[in-house]
């Protein structure tokens, strides 16, 4: 029996972001942008969606004079990612 895949994670960029964050304690916006090869605008929108769902925590601050946005996965996000993987297994 196929399990339903979390629609929030079953999208290319959001899944890429979560896959990166699951293995890291934290990552900044530039790192995510480079690794996912996405545009700033699109990345921003997807990060906000994940943050609104409580899957990631976003912190905005400064490094010297430069603005810096860092992201980390929340326990809820980790659980959602694990559930997504479990659901994915049912398709194979």
């Amino acid at each position: 029996m196929f399990k339903e895949l979390d629609p929030l994670l079953h999208s290319q960029l959001r899944l890429a972001i979560m896959s990166l964050l699951i293995s890291l304690a934290q990552a900044d916006f530039v790192f995510l942008k480079e690794k996912t090869n996405s545009t700033s605008g699109n990345l921003s929108v997807q990060l906000d969606k994940l943050s609104e769902a409580g899957y990631i925590k976003i912190e905005k601050g400064y490094k010297g004079k430069k603005p810096r946005t860092t992201c980390q996965i929340t326990p809820l996000g980790r659980k959602a990612f694990e559930n997504y993987l479990e659901a994915l297994k049912t398709y194979f």
Binding site: H10, Q12, S19, N42, L88
Partner: protein, 192 residues
Amino acid sequence: MEEKKLTQQESLELISKMIKETHTNIEKGGGNIFLLWGYLWLVVALVVYTAILQTGDYRAQWLWFAMPIIGYPSMYFMLKRQEKMAVTFVSKTISKIWIVMGTCALLLSLFILINPAAFPILFVMALIINAGVALSGLVLEYKIISVVGFIGILLSFALLMIPGINKILVFAIFPIIMLIIPGHILNSARNV
């Protein structure tokens, strides 16, 4: 990368690719902290040894305090300057190990000011730092660093057996094996 729906197969491939990306992201300057403390330790130990040898005045031991005075602010600025785009769980764990080791080393060196005969300071310091190196190696799963750490723990006990000023000279050899060589190995590993 656009926001497109994926097939199940594509999902798996994407997850696997992204996780691999984080593995190849060895942090820049991973060995620099080892090098900072290694060279500082080497230079201060040689200066103390030479000063005592030349003057016979054991007050030259006060020069050991150059290590925390120079080392801690330098480490603070070095860490602040590092561009850490992503923090791995491994690097976070290693930082915490060294916070504990550094606090112990600092408190012990302050206590020795109150009671200089309380414990053999060179032995205790070598033991703490080598334990830190061994733990870092184990967490990093870097065999050579773990091995030199454990060798260092073992060699620390030699400091209890060597008499007089010569133990400072032996203490000066420790950072070359335990910090300087692993530091250069770590830095060259990230350049691969």
